[in-house]
């Protein structure tokens, strides 16, 4: 019996096939298991790419006459045009025809806005050259079509957004601007930067050779961008425009170069207009030479307001019971307070006068009488403490209001027991010198003093605007009882009577308008004395409807009037008169 067996050819074939397939399996195992991580990371590096999905910055609206939002700041799409110079080369030779064609197309569409250095930097090694920035959508479309016609390769259009200021420089300091890094600077843009900028999204996915994202693989991340909030301001664009025009005209009339105006709704604390001069164009903020112009001086500049403060001192006197509207005193041109002389500007009124006369003639001696009465008959710690309490706890001087603006100043006032001549300091404080207050602080306090005693937190944001729907937020009542309602009523009447007496009824055509002027000497920190030639003129006032409620408060400041006379009445009051007349008509205020 033979034990040998011939090996069949089929067995040989099986063996060979098996070996070949074993080789395949081994290689596959080596690639896919042993070197799995290495090849996966290489593949991901090539294929998986992330792209930030930029969030659109929130828009900013003002209010129109009917209370609906009117756009102030929008976004418009713009493009950056760049080229890949490497792809313009055929071997080592630049395709001059294509390069020149590209240059011709760009210059025809954009003129001088084409970056000459971008067209010159066409080295073979370079993969990127910037050709133009801030190209509008219609320009980009026409350039794209022309490029496609001429078959020009490798030109990219990167989209972004640019801020557009629909009303030009209107309310520039209140708005602020957005810098090249997309960050808000000054004003609302900076204060509400987090709300306005939204949150960028992220798209991470496998991409093909043309950078098209494909929804395959496990690395896909798709987080949509969350656009910024659209903010509606309390600013009325019509009032703002009128106020800016009136300010410019008023300053020109007296040869002044700087000034500010604020208009507020005393029933809600909402700011209806806020203007500073000089101003700037936020669309061209890069051209501004003096950065001081970016600041909103109404909130950031604390100054000595002067005689307008007499209205608030009088309110404190009425409310504390120290005086009544019919209280009288024997006036003189000057009084002595320690080693200082407190004198009136208006001389010769050496007779018995009442409290309304104090406001009419703006008597420094008169408000010192009120201060003395707070102390039981003399300028003492008790009286100073009463006035200090009204200025700080009631009127909220010495602390920021919290308005939605950057750089708000808290101001400063001396405590009643200040070691540096407290009696003289407070004798001056009673008529608005020796304390620093911003226009916003003063106007907000004045609103509370004349509206029945309600301190509404001053506000610039009325709400948000989303998908055509305006969500209004409620005004915030920070405090009641700033003055008792009857004290506020008395103060209103006194201010109306004072203005009527001063103007002899010329200004207001039968409407009930009250106000107080102030002319303050400017303190020179270098010489540590008050200037005898430079004054700040201020006027603050209000208009009352036939239901006896004030509908607007306007405060005007002129920093450097060169007209003769008192800056408060000569420079600031005419501007107030113009705006007040406009407001009476605009708000439909009725005569009594």
């Amino acid at each position: 019996m033979e034990g040998n067996r011939k090996i069949a050819r089929s067995d040989l074939l099986i063996g060979v096939v098996f070996l070949v397939f074993a080789g395949f399996v081994w290689r596959l195992a080596d690639l896919q298991i042993a070197h799995h991580d290495e090849y996966m990371s290489k593949a991901n590096a090539m294929q998986v790419r992330s792209r930030i999905l930029p969030a659109a910055r929130g828009e900013i609206y003002a209010l129109d006459a009917d209370g609906s939002p009117a756009p102030l700041v929008l976004n418009e799409p713009v493009y950056e045009i760049a080229a890949d110079p490497h792809l313009f080369y055929d071997g080592e030779k630049l395709d001059i025809d294509k390069h020149d064609a590209l240059a011709e197309i760009l210059r025809a569409a954009l003129g001088d806005r084409v970056r000459a250095e971008g067209l010159e930097n066409f080295d073979e090694e370079s993969r990127y050259t910037l050709l133009a920035k801030q190209v509008s959508r219609t320009e980009a479309q026409s350039i794209q079509a022309a490029i496609k016609d001429r078959n020009i390769p490798a030109v990219s259009f990167t989209p972004s957004n640019r801020r557009v200021y629909i009303e030009g420089p209107l309310a520039a300091q209140t708005l602020g601007f957005v810098n090249m890094d997309g960050e808000g600077q000054y004003g609302i843009e900076q204060y509400l930067d987090d709300d306005l900028k939204g949150r960028d999204g992220l798209l991470q996915s496998v991409r093909d050779a043309r950078d098209t994202p494909l929804p395959i693989g496990i690395h896909e991340i798709d987080i949509p961008a969350k656009d910024g909030d659209n903010i509606v301001l309390t600013i009325d664009r019509n009032i703002q425009s009128q106020v800016e025009d009136a300010l410019k005209r008023g300053l020109d009339n007296v040869g002044a170069t700087t000034g500010s105006i604020i208009v507020m709704n005393p029933q809600s604390g909402e700011v209806m207009a806020m203007a500073n001069y000089p101003s700037y164009d936020p669309a061209n903020f890069g051209k501004v030479e003096n950065a001081e112009v970016f600041q909103n001086k109404i909130v950031s500049y604390a100054y000595e307001p002067g005689s307008v403060t007499k209205a608030l001192t009088m309110g404190a006197g009425l409310d504390s019971g120290a005086i009544t509207p019919s209280s009288t005193y024997l006036n003189s041109d000057c009084i002595d307070v320690d080693d200082a002389k407190i004198c009136n500007v208006e001389k010769g009124l050496n007779r018995t006068l009442n409290m309304t006369d104090v406001l009419t003639y703006s008597l420094n001696t008169g408000v010192n009488y009120v201060l003395n009465q707070m102390g039981g008959g003399e300028n003492n710690l008790q009286g100073r403490q009463v006035l200090y309490n009204y200025f700080t706890d009631h009127y909220r001087f010495g602390q920021p209001t919290g308005i939605e603006q950057m750089g708000e100043s808290a101001g400063f006032l001396n405590p009643p027991d200040t070691p540096h001549g407290a009696r003289v300091v407070y004798a001056n404080m009673a008529f608005g010198q020796g304390l620093n207050i911003t226009m916003l602080q003063f106007a907000s306090a004045f609103c509370a003093a004349v509206n029945g005693g309600n301190y509404w937190k001053p506000a610039l944001v009325a709400g948000t605007y989303d998908g055509g729907e305006f969500s209004r937020k409620n005004p915030y009542l920070a405090a009641e009882g700033v003055l008792k309602p009857e004290s506020s009523q008395d103060l209103r009447n006194m201010l109306i009577d004072a203005r009527l007496s001063f103007s002899r009824g010329v200004y207001d055509g039968g409407f009930r308008v009250g106000g107080k002027s102030g002319t303050a000497q400017i303190y020179d920190a270098n010489t540590m004395t008050y200037s005898e030639s430079d004054y700040v003129g201020t006027y603050v006032g209000f208009g009352v409807d036939k239901d006896n409620s004030p509908k607007y408060v306007i405060m005007v400041r002129v920093d450097d009037s060169h007209a003769g006379g008192f800056a408060g009445s000569v420079a600031a009051m005419p501007i107030f008169n113009e705006i007040s007349t406009y407001m009476l008509s605009y708000l439909g205020v009725s005569k009594p």
Binding site: L13, F21, N75, S136, R137, G168, L214, P215, I216, R237
Partner: protein, 121 residues
């Protein structure tokens, strides 16, 4: 000479011969059974083809997902273009209703200031 012990499974009718066969006793009837098994090479090839077939199906699925990606991308690009166009139109619309546009309009130009004004309560 060797003999193999082979068990034949027979069928009663030989399809090839067309003859009826008699499986009675003492009849020397032989029928060749067909083996139902396939060879190892063929098995290997069939399995390989099945695996390749499944891979092809997987690749087809992947490709069709990828093709959705292109459609999605086209739609996203179109959406971005429309959003940009909408932004432009909003800006144009806002500019036309701006205070400056209203002031410089023909309607405003044809308005005159009243000679005198008064108010009615």
């Amino acid at each position: 000479m060797t003999y193999k012990n082979t068990v034949y499974q027979s069928s009663r009718i030989s399809a090839r011969a067309g003859l009826r066969q008699n499986f009675a006793m003492n009849q020397n009837t032989i029928a060749y059974a067909r083996d139902g098994k396939i060879g190892p090479v063929a098995t290997f090839v069939v399995i390989g083809l099945l695996v390749v077939g499944m891979l092809m199906i997987y690749l087809m699925q992947l490709s069709s997902t990828g093709s959705y990606g292109y459609k999605l991308n086209d739609i996203n690009v179109r959406q971005s273009e429309l959003v940009a166009e909408q932004q432009d139109l909003e800006v144009d619309n806002a500019r036309m209703q701006s205070l400056a546009a209203v002031k410089n309009s023909t309607v405003a130009a044809s308005m005159t200031a009243p000679a005198s004004t008064d108010s009615v309560n």
